[in-house]
């Protein structure tokens, strides 16, 4: 980023599967114009990509006594991109007892991000 303070940068918005091609015109290292986004979420996405890139993380936690051995989870909001690895590691240690339901909190404030990890499927007793 630093080497082109006046530059045009291209992004593919990942906020929804439409995947708009977004162009950002930079002037003095600041955003001058954002074009190509179909909705405001796209502008928000590129602004964040340039300043504080974040991702929602999805993974699994182990379930004890369930109809399935694992349950899917997600971070309830996006977390800084450089925390993804730590977040996945933290989830490895988690074991929940069946049944679990969509929205149950699997881990609070994961890796100090202020974001909870929540269960995303109902898994009954096995």
């Amino acid at each position: 980023m630093g080497e082109h303070r006046n530059a045009t940068r291209e992004f593919v918005c990942i906020r929804c599967p439409l995947g708009c091609n977004i162009t950002v015109d930079m002037e003095d290292g600041k955003i001058r114009e954002i074009t190509g986004n179909t909705c405001p979420r796209g502008a928000d996405y590129v602004t964040k990509e340039l300043t504080d890139p974040r991702r929602t993380v999805t993974s699994l936690v182990r379930i004890e006594g369930g109809e399935l051995p694992v349950a899917p989870v997600k971070t309830a909001a996006d977390i800084p991109k450089d925390k993804i690895g730590d977040c996945i590691k933290a989830l490895k240690g988690i074991r929940l007892a069946a049944p679990v339901r969509i929205g149950d909190v699997a881990a609070e404030n994961v890796c100090g991000t202020g974001v909870d990890v929540v269960v995303t499927a109902n898994v009954g007793k096995g």
Partner: protein, 427 residues
Amino acid sequence: MEKDLVIIGGGPAGLAAAIAAREAGVEDLLVLERDSRLGGILNQCIHNGFGLHTFKEELTGPEYAGRYIEKVLEQKIPYKLNTMVIDLEAEESRKKVTVMNREEGLYQIEARAVILAMGCRERARGALNIPGYRPAGIYSAGTAQRYVNMEGRMPGKEIVILGSGDIGLIMARRMTLEGAKVKLVAELQPYSGGLKRNIVQCLDDFGIPLKLSHTVVDIKGKERVESVTVARVDENLKPVPGSEEEIPCDTLLLSCGLLPENELSETLGVKMNPVTGGPEVDESLETSREGVFACGNVLHVHDLVDYVSQEAAQAGKNAAAYLSGSRSGQGRGIPIRAVQGVRYTVPSSVDVSRMEETQVVRFRVGNVFRNAAIEVSCGGKILKSQKKQILAPGEMEQVILKRAELEQIEDPEEITVSVRAESRGRD
């Protein structure tokens, strides 16, 4: 057993169709699902990105399915799990659905209307012409997804993926996060088969290389995969001698696209579309068999579940209208032809006297086009010209037909949907 409406498949398509049919007044209906839970393929798609259009929030696959399952339970729509439809016949307007289930064995249901919502399966192409042994460690991407996400097992540690379909891309990220090393994604075509967003957030984010115009030409290993050899291909998709590179790995995932699951549609003898591999349907999503409707991935492979739900709701509503005999007079269906860069359209005909005010026509293009326009013409008139920065085979497109516009055309013979290209890209 007799039913007004039988819905085959309890994935997002079947669920949305059932809910819409019930809302339109169909009391006597039944959803049949061969798996042990409702929700279809969404149960194994634990990543997020579903439902932004429908719910205005980003859900994971199981959460999206959960919303529909809740509605099905709320409305007390009957369904049977672990129940597989094994045969489908039609005699006049009666349909005979033969099902098998562990508790009740084999039996027949007579239905006045049927909605096909069986989804799709993975294509085996690409796997077929690789010479060499078939050691352990070769999986389809969808099978690997089920292993990892529903059974909590990893297929291997060092992985090469052939094919850049969405499942392969998503599994590349998934397995990287779980500690595996994904060394390469090789794609035979000069463009990716998956959504752009998945290339960004599944490959680019993790520095996983994607090699377009590359394929696997050899697999080494007796018991277990030890390495695969990839090579560049020319314009005719033939490997270029001398471009081979051997990559040590213990697992090869094949992600070569999806194909509608249509054995049943074929036994029923509905007219099929050779391009989509699904049935041909008119504007009401009715197949060539009266009272048999189709929606979701069984009709054509969708990338967006939101559109599956919309399409399926339409099928449910139309099946209800068929059952109550309230469909307005069947005039002449105008064929919709896919020409010049457009591979197919769904629906493939539209009856102006029967259509709603607007009709969505979905399609895919056959190549990458930049700065192109989608054109809809009828009776020598251009009805629509829609500019597009980029069109790619991996992304489904749509145009909207207006009844008022079509009514003004005298004796329309056909509607064509085409791409007018300004330039054509190869990446």
